[in-house]
Amino acid sequence: MKKFQSSRLFALASVLAIATGCEGRIAESESGDGANPATPPPPGDKDPTDKPDVVKPPPPPPFTAQPPEAYLPKLKDLLTGLPITSAELDRVKADPAALRDLLETWRGLPAYRAKLQQWLGQAFQQVQVDRDEFADQLGFDPSNVFGNDNRARIEKLITETFARTAMALIDEGRPFTETVTTNRFMLNPPMMALLAFLDARPLDDKRKKTQNAWFSQKYPNFQMIATRAGIKGAPPPAVAADAYTEGNAAFMKFKFVPGSDRLPCSDTPYVSTGGRGLEEAFATLFGHTTFCAGLMQPVFTEEDWNQFRMVTIRPPAEGENPDVFWNVNKFRRTAELVVGTPRVGFMTTLAFFANWATNDSNVFRVTANQTLITALGLSFQPEGPGIPIDDSNLEGEHAAKGTVCYGCHVTLDPMRDFFRHDYTLYYAKRFDQLDPTKNIPATGTFSADDSMPIQGQGITALAQALAQHPRFAFAWALKLCQYANAGVCEPDDPELLRVATVFKASGHNFSTLVRELFSSPITTFAARTLTGEKHDAIVALARREIFCDRLGVRLGLTDVCNLEGKKSIGPNLSTLALGLPDAGYARGEVTAVMPREPNMFFVAAVEAICTKLSVDIVAGGRNTLWADTETERAINDFADKLMGLPDNDSLRPGIIDVLKRHHQAALETGASARDALRSTFIVACQSPLSLSLGL
């Protein structure tokens, strides 16, 4: 594959190819804002005093080094959401190298873990789950099988599973490359049951529900029987103790009360067989049956939902059966889940698959490309044929030679075959890879960015190839840098390369990456770097998660924007908070979406949030933190907590003065002490410091 030359060339190439509706070869990520490089002045601009035969190096672009007052709050905010303390500022002012020690301290704070988990979910593309695509992957309507409450829980669970897993790998000190190759995942018993269920009842390429062969052999004539045991509104019956005990007379026999009176409901027992029978049996674990929207006591307890541990997912050994999904007692204690469906790395999770659904036309191209983007920060782009390692894998209808599309498919199609070996189009285990009508090549091939082509079979082979790719360390250094700088990091910045080199040399230790990157001038802007030269010190709006986390962590309020439905304060701010732009990722985009520029909707949303919050937590609200008689303490807290200004920040006296004068001026308009203090809170809450990252 030809080596990538410059991001702008690729941008141009993609423009050309997008017009053709096709992607082509692999491109690297670009700097976040696509800024133009410094260009030499035209000949007419040459200084006439220059000697004709002496070439002066161009003067360095203007650059203002950032003081600790500017970068320290940004870093701590990004990593924990917390404001800096006076002592922290003093330490770094006295010795900038002390920042590295502070980073270690901050990494020990609970708030750091919450932030890191949030970022890992985004970085591994696990959070923007399409509910319908998730339902497709399951093969049933989640509301019917899980119930609406459990549905939300399951959806949250699947979006968090890999971030939890990556956190655990980091905690264990494992190389970060294991995020690509791991077959150990942080699971709770409901999640284990779900994975075991999907393994027992796979969906084929046409979404037909089937029973896994081992299941059919072990449970021939499997059936589930559900009998009505009361009227709607009656207490849901408990599941019989032996309902999941094979060989017992009560095996797979359940009682329920109707959950709805919209549906006709018979007194005759409902008998369900085949794939549907498995679904019904699975639903009972969550206290549901789809018959009459029936209810029973769920098998899973609160403890089950909260009990996470690292679990190795492995295929059954010769002669061994996989785990059956109703074996909850095992799931409560096991560190091993036996299923035939391969689960390897971030790119085989239910969430990743629900993000990137494929179909009989796409056939895993989106899966392969998003995997490449996530793992290595590379994407298939048009222009040029790449390396036609073996074009027998190409689908002619999509990639006739001589077309722009050929360049894409000649590289992408062999990579997506790794997925085809193991999964159906609905991401269930594939059993028919040897069926000649499926036309699945025996091996897939992976090569990206000049790497040695690697051939193999199945997702594990692809995972190994990705983890061994020389670009891995750089890709993740760049991702984290873009997070810190709201998307802006120059890929060619020597400082970024240095950080990546240190990360790699540490054995891909993620904590080392955090320490190196967040103490680097590429994020502090305390010294000149290529990124700083091109973009100045990055400043951006406080996007949704930053703004909401700050308010929550600093004011001691749980889920202050109610984005997780766990609000600890009165007003429901979620609809307003959803008006704040957030970080995200998009199909085919190498660079994460990181909004930087404020606009009127952002400002209006923040103002509305601050106003509603003030009514609740300031001077007489339901969750009052400051009484209207506590003006002095309140204003100091506003400066400390909301605005993140420690006592020894040189701007603090001036800011405090503005707040005090605002309070006084409000009183002078006739506003009550309560409203004056609330208005002062709003000023602090919507100040540039509160609305920005990097001021």
């Binding site: 985009e589 909707f601 100040s687």
Partner: protein, 445 residues
Amino acid sequence: MINSRLTTRLTTRRNALANILFGTSGLGLRALATGLPTAFLARPLTAQAEELMCTADKARAQFLILSTSGAGDPFNANAPGMYGLTGPAHAASPVMQKTELSLGPVRTSAAKVFSTLPQWALDRATFIHHSTLTNNHADHDKVLRLMGAASRGEMVPSLCAKALYTCLGTVQPEPVSIGAGNNFSYEGRALPDLKPRALKDLLATDDSVLTKLESLRDKSVDEMSALLKTRGTMAQQRHMDSLVTSRRQARSLSDDLLQLLASIDSDGPSGQVTAALALIRMKVSPVMYVRFSFGGDNHEDPDLGKEVASHVDSLGHIATLLEALKTSGLQDQVTFGVQNVFGRTLAKKGVRGRDHYGAHQVTMLIGNNVRPGVVGGLVPNKLGTDFIAGAFDATTGALSDAGDVAPDASLGAVGKTMGSALGVNGAYLDEKINRGAIIKAALKS
């Protein structure tokens, strides 16, 4: 209080509003109204370049307000074109009785309730009878993606929005769901649902004491900005300036727009109507999703009572919206559509209710580029137990076994036709949608 605040404004608010819409501060104005990731702002040049192209006929470019639902409403059961056959069940209610209707020069019949739409709107309305190829609620998103016929799995409204937003000069290309649910996506990103009351909370004001202190707060925030600028770099100073500009823009919304927003009192259809009107006047996005019910998932619906009531309500809301657009002088720039995940059975259960039906659906389009009439129609199914959408001729719209739009290509044809009705270039549509032909019979030549 709205008016007291407005009296304090500095200069011409309408000019300021124009600046908000069309941009004086560059990228800042191209961000979101809805909380979506501002892809435009941060995306590499690759994606921007495509979006920056106006791939529509500017003179014909239209905004789209699309009512769409995964419930699979029985909109297909009583629409124009449904009363020429014996067999489909209709409620006994007077509002569902067969009524002669003029769609421009075309005479047809429909449930009487359709005659409550303004005649000027009926004169630019088409009703396309087709199949959606699914009877599964969960396939709502797939129907919007034309069941696999749309390039890169993009939803048709998103494809159109991308083609239109430069032509229309909107703030963002991403469609906005206004209380229509969060089942929509743009370039693989799920779009959040902006509830009408949230929009009101965001931009409208009240007469509380805290609102009255707003200008005082603005002054204090400006003082803080001045202080912070003393140690700011150029980039930081620019950022603070853009915060100030954004705040001033929010303060500069016109009187009538603020009053319009303040009148939103629900997240239901009436609120959606008002919010859609406001967002189009603000030129936020080329596409707005709303959700008007026409009976919902009415498997069990004795005497089709729910179906009747919902038709009356929703066609009333649509009439209100259309008249409001006309009052605002926007009737020639906005196309309104109805399209659902599937239709419902017509004859199978009589008036006891209707089941899911992927074999027949009606898409309605009302717009300036639309040729009025009925396209396609029904034929008996193989068992003779119900009716299915038949093949039709794309040029005449007539039902015909030899028609060039077969039922399995009709959804793609509807997608292309919707795009063409919005002014999107045919070549772009052909490139992005690989099935079906543009239905010329539904478009003004």
